[in-house]
Symmetry: C7
Subunit: 276 residues, 7 copies
Amino acid sequence: MNMESFNDGVFWAAAIILIVQLVGVLIGYIIVRAIGSKIIHRAFNRMEKQRNMHPGRVKTLSRLAISIFTYILLFIVITITLGLFDLDIAPLIASAGIVGLAIGFGAQGLVSDVVTGFFILLEKQIDVEDYIAIAGIDGIVEEVGLRTTQVRSFDGTLHFVPNREISVVSNYSRGNMQAIVDIGIAYEENVDKAIAVIQGACNRVAEEQGAFKEGPDVVGVNALGSSEVTIRIIAKTENMMQWAMQRELLKACKEELDAHNIEIPYPHQVNVSKEA
Amino acid sequence: MNMESFNDGVFWAAAIILIVQLVGVLIGYIIVRAIGSKIIHRAFNRMEKQRNMHPGRVKTLSRLAISIFTYILLFIVITITLGLFDLDIAPLIASAGIVGLAIGFGAQGLVSDVVTGFFILLEKQIDVEDYIAIAGIDGIVEEVGLRTTQVRSFDGTLHFVPNREISVVSNYSRGNMQAIVDIGIAYEENVDKAIAVIQGACNRVAEEQGAFKEGPDVVGVNALGSSEVTIRIIAKTENMMQWAMQRELLKACKEELDAHNIEIPYPHQVNVSKEA
Amino acid sequence: MNMESFNDGVFWAAAIILIVQLVGVLIGYIIVRAIGSKIIHRAFNRMEKQRNMHPGRVKTLSRLAISIFTYILLFIVITITLGLFDLDIAPLIASAGIVGLAIGFGAQGLVSDVVTGFFILLEKQIDVEDYIAIAGIDGIVEEVGLRTTQVRSFDGTLHFVPNREISVVSNYSRGNMQAIVDIGIAYEENVDKAIAVIQGACNRVAEEQGAFKEGPDVVGVNALGSSEVTIRIIAKTENMMQWAMQRELLKACKEELDAHNIEIPYPHQVNVSKEA
Amino acid sequence: MNMESFNDGVFWAAAIILIVQLVGVLIGYIIVRAIGSKIIHRAFNRMEKQRNMHPGRVKTLSRLAISIFTYILLFIVITITLGLFDLDIAPLIASAGIVGLAIGFGAQGLVSDVVTGFFILLEKQIDVEDYIAIAGIDGIVEEVGLRTTQVRSFDGTLHFVPNREISVVSNYSRGNMQAIVDIGIAYEENVDKAIAVIQGACNRVAEEQGAFKEGPDVVGVNALGSSEVTIRIIAKTENMMQWAMQRELLKACKEELDAHNIEIPYPHQVNVSKEA
Amino acid sequence: MNMESFNDGVFWAAAIILIVQLVGVLIGYIIVRAIGSKIIHRAFNRMEKQRNMHPGRVKTLSRLAISIFTYILLFIVITITLGLFDLDIAPLIASAGIVGLAIGFGAQGLVSDVVTGFFILLEKQIDVEDYIAIAGIDGIVEEVGLRTTQVRSFDGTLHFVPNREISVVSNYSRGNMQAIVDIGIAYEENVDKAIAVIQGACNRVAEEQGAFKEGPDVVGVNALGSSEVTIRIIAKTENMMQWAMQRELLKACKEELDAHNIEIPYPHQVNVSKEA
Amino acid sequence: MNMESFNDGVFWAAAIILIVQLVGVLIGYIIVRAIGSKIIHRAFNRMEKQRNMHPGRVKTLSRLAISIFTYILLFIVITITLGLFDLDIAPLIASAGIVGLAIGFGAQGLVSDVVTGFFILLEKQIDVEDYIAIAGIDGIVEEVGLRTTQVRSFDGTLHFVPNREISVVSNYSRGNMQAIVDIGIAYEENVDKAIAVIQGACNRVAEEQGAFKEGPDVVGVNALGSSEVTIRIIAKTENMMQWAMQRELLKACKEELDAHNIEIPYPHQVNVSKEA
Amino acid sequence: MNMESFNDGVFWAAAIILIVQLVGVLIGYIIVRAIGSKIIHRAFNRMEKQRNMHPGRVKTLSRLAISIFTYILLFIVITITLGLFDLDIAPLIASAGIVGLAIGFGAQGLVSDVVTGFFILLEKQIDVEDYIAIAGIDGIVEEVGLRTTQVRSFDGTLHFVPNREISVVSNYSRGNMQAIVDIGIAYEENVDKAIAVIQGACNRVAEEQGAFKEGPDVVGVNALGSSEVTIRIIAKTENMMQWAMQRELLKACKEELDAHNIEIPYPHQVNVSKEA
């Protein structure tokens, strides 16, 4: 408010303008507060019905939300009003900035959740019922939300995973799966004969089971272990059938090798005797 | 304050306005300080009664809170006053900003706690009495607060977990649980017979115990181990009954295998003797 | 708005200008909002067709996008309008800054994704069909995008890797690969003879298989192990043929050493007997 | 300072105001400095007496504190003074901001300490004499401060833990504790008989010792180990008595099993002999 | 725009100035946009030729670059224009700041790459063809760029390492290398005699091979192991010859010790027999 | 500088003021630079004498310090001067801010050092000669400074630990220490007799050695191991005597158990023979 | 530029001032650019000679440096110029701020390097030729710079360690070193006699070797191991002689124990035979 305003009764004009401004601010406050409270109330009521929450908990949460809203609104109104009286509100803003800084940093995790959730939905990385591994947890997806993804692991546990914790999504439900079986045979056995017998077992399982897409095939000698020669079988199966097929292959190989007297060896050790 | 104000005795008008402003600031300070102190006092008194805290500790904490409040208030009043005298308060604000920055960052953990706590409550991730695993700790939930969650682990320890430490919530109390038992039998045994015997033991346990929801069922040969063929049993049980059922299954399988003379083998080693 | 404006009916001129400004702001708001909504709608519709997404999910996402857009626009319009009435909008901006800060930090991961993706494409670090290892995952690349890279690992799992998670790219499809095989022979055997036999096996494999680019060659005694002398073979093969060639080399060496009666030893132990 | 001030000798008025402002700043500086130094001195003197510190160390620390205080004050005074002469002090502020930034970040750990300490006290997470585990350290609490918590571990070491390092507080002194004992018996033994004998030992200990709150009870077969069948005992004991009770149970079970000739087995191995 | 401008038709002068400013901004926009687009186009065309990239990929990338450039330019032009009409553009700037913040943080990795790359080149830490270890990867350097370093590891994999991931550079190609060989002899052997024999083997290798710079020398008994006395040999060899020389030393020591009947022992164990 | 100044020769007054300001800035620069350089010189000279540093190194460091000081000063003077000519120095400040940001973040570690060091001194966490463990290092403290703590570990290495790396301080020199000794006896031995014998050995050591404060006492059976029953002894000793006392207890227990023919068992294994 | 300037031809004065300002800015730009380019050129030329760098690499780096310098200068000149025409340059500054933010964060590592390097030099933590361990690397220091420290490890590798990676400096070259040797003897041996024999071997080595400062002394029974009683020897040696002395002690103890027929035992195991 400049001093020139004292010339020619301009003062009174300025005063009138000030009062108009004050009233405007007050009316604005009342309207915004009423609308805001109503919106918050409705949001929580809807949530109460949808999620079947306990009324006490909802009341606690909505009261918290309205308090925060009112405090912020009051702060804005007070600073605007002080500004009208030409008081320097910089220190007030600075004080608020400290609180704001803490809140901004504290709440950034929430934004991370929503941004990550948005892209998981948009890029169809996860569908409900998929078998996935995220954030060190694997299981069946029960729900994909903007903030949280719910995964039920094989042992029955329900995991709530905040989306920000999800970096790499490993989805086991997007195509055929590989079944890999390693069979160890004794060093004394003929490798070619063993491979033929194992391939025979594989063919038998492939005929009996309909879940194979490719193979199973013996790919050869995978390692010369400390006590056994390792033969590897690879097969492609229908999704989620890989474990059952691995079990079938293991059983068939064991039976077939037994039938042909090919030894699956125990750990070996050469003992050299020496007198003390 | 512009120099034009010296024209026409405007100076006196300005001085009067200044004094009015100063008095207003002073009154504002006194009112805000009184109200603030009272609110803090009441909050701590209520806490003292609710939590049954030691009066000495409450006094220490409330005195700390009032001091911090008064320092902040004084700082704001001083900067506003200096601003009225046309002194540049930017350096003051900057100095305060340094302190504020440190406080903002230091306190951001607190906001993180509340934001996370809010969503844990809202999304019903945890209920009191649930058996959960959070932040590397597992146990029964004793209390879920906006800042801290209390978990009592199986050995009796009470853990106070700040909510910001909670990322993935693994809740073991949301549905039936899986019981998994692996039984190793000797390579010499007939696999089909062993499976039949183990399934028999499972059926017996299922009849005796009412806690099974599905199975227990033998799913097949899970691995060809170094000394034993591993047979896997899977069952679905009532919540929290999985460990008891696993114990029952282990005992029944041991007894049934013994009764049918099927060997549960010790570790095997083939010794090849060689003279030194 | 200065007080001098009251001199000479300037007030009315100022009022007219204000009204013109307000109308301009309003028109600007309407135009920008319409254009923005249309652009968002079109973008999601195109996406729906291209990615074959569920209409419900697209609707959810586009509604979210339009809400956010409208809220931001409204905020800008309100602050500009208040500014026209000479109200101090600093507190409003500060409040918005808190939200903005959280959003900025939360969204920075998204920018990281795009920047990293841009350079992966620009520097041709990854091509579709390459066999690579990134972020602890290895497999065949299915898609390289600006935000996400899709990798299918050997067991059939599809991994969605946000580009920001990619630091070092290890590309296995850029040139010939090394096959390394270590063969352990007994301490009693003559090392020179063993090397000759193994080299013979290598030469036989090299003749039979066309995938070798260099070698395979025996480079010498690699270690004196606890029970065996380790001989190392190194070869260069065509890309992706290294594992098959390793398997061939293992089989050939086993057969050749058996044929020459050179022992591949089991673990040894010297037993010193002592009476209790 | 506008140029209009040259009209009508306004210049002198401005000069007088300037001088008044300068003198005011100077007086303010002298007063604030005197008060600040006195407060710092007193604080350190009180500390010296309370903590029984070496006068030399106190002198070093208080001198450091006063220097820092004076530098900050001088900086503020200089910038205010320059501002009075209409010199742009933005670069000065910017330079100070750099230092301030470093200080703010460097000191944020301190604030973290106090905020965490405040809530540890407020929520009564730790009391002196409690047996707790924090920050990878466990022991008896000797002192809980706003900045540091002192814990004496079992071997006599005194740990100073800055409160910011405390995330999860595991308090072992809040209720009865669980004692868990696993006893391995030979596969040849009858499981039911062994359970009965072990339960007998438990009952005997329970009679002799008064520290049990529940049990001890045998819960069943916990595992089929490689060489032994594991039987688990669970008991609830008075706080801090769990280890003594575990020792009593171990001793009683050993004696009782010996008395009934039930074998606690050594590791087993099946040796299959083969000629080289 | 002050109200005084209405005095004396100054209004028209102001209007003319405004129009001139607007035209200037428009012309500036057109020029900058044209030049910018051309520069981006040329840069990508040159890259296309140099790196032999697919035209489709180049088109995608250059279109992305031009879009981003145009959006930024438009934003600047709009805010400058609004500023000319006295509209407060602070909210616009604030909105842009949010985006900018995210971009700034997201892009900081890029700057880190270039800064690190600059100093790696300046300090000659890495040359093409050097054998180095960086960021957990070791291999031969194929290319050192400002953003990425390409390393081909021994097995043929090509690694793209963003320079920011490079902290410690371990360069194996800057001088002679040490070859270290540990030989275990039986406890029964005479240590002095064994050292003499091993030194003899070392001397023989040193004569046959020209790659030694110093030694190889036996430095003495390095450890009394559980089954053997370990003798250490140290030698300095030409760069990259250390592994070949280690292999030669191992072979020579084995042969020489065999020739002198000094035992390289298998793991020992004393067996104490006890009846069950 | 407003245009009104052209009215009435005010221009010349303004020009004079400007010149006075320029001269003032120049004089200020010369004085500050001279004083600053002198202070830096003196500080380094004093350091040179106190720490007995090489003059060359001191010269390098002081030259670096003076250059940095001069550059900062020049930057401030230039911006103030430009400000006097009404040139907008915001871009200059912004450029400086970039450098400042980097410096502020880079130097924050230094502040962390000093803040942590201050509290380590204030709270007497560490004294010279204490035996402590900090930052994964343990040893005797040689010096505690505001920036660095020097610790000499048991093997003679001198560690320089920046104070910021110190979080938990584990001080082994604040009170009596616990000595814990676990003795394994054979399963065949009578536990009560063994405890009596071991307690006898403890009593003998306690008589011979004066360093015990409490005990040593046998607390009972600590574990039923795979081959032995573990008996635990606990004692409280004078500070730093715990290791010597543990050695004495070990020797005495071994001798006493030998004298009473109580077996300290080797690892046991039950061998079950099976024909291949 | 206010409108009052149109009064009384003041316009022309303003125009002249504007032109003078523009010319000044232009001249400033030309001078600063010329000087800056020259300084950069000279710096790189000097570096080329000192470090014997390849001219091509120097040219690349200096061209990069000059480009960056020119872009920054141009940006500053453009914003200053726009400011002279009363155009709002805030958006320009904001855009620059984004780039600056990224640069500031990216370059902070560089400042960290220099700050850490400064204190390493100032506190004489490292001297060239010292044997140290930093950042997980140990070796002989070849060069200590403000940005990088070069360490050559024992195997000949040269490590470039950016100073920021250096936290704790472990310096092995600051005083005498401890040599620690643990000797295991059989449980059947008399401990007192074994200690006497080992002390005899120590005395013999101490006489033969001049590098001992204290000891070597037997401190007693350090552990009752699973198969042996461990006796510990401690000695203080000249710097860098600790490993040689440890080797001498090991050899002497082995020989002395052999001479006195005291057994250094192999691992023991008690075998309990059981029929299947």
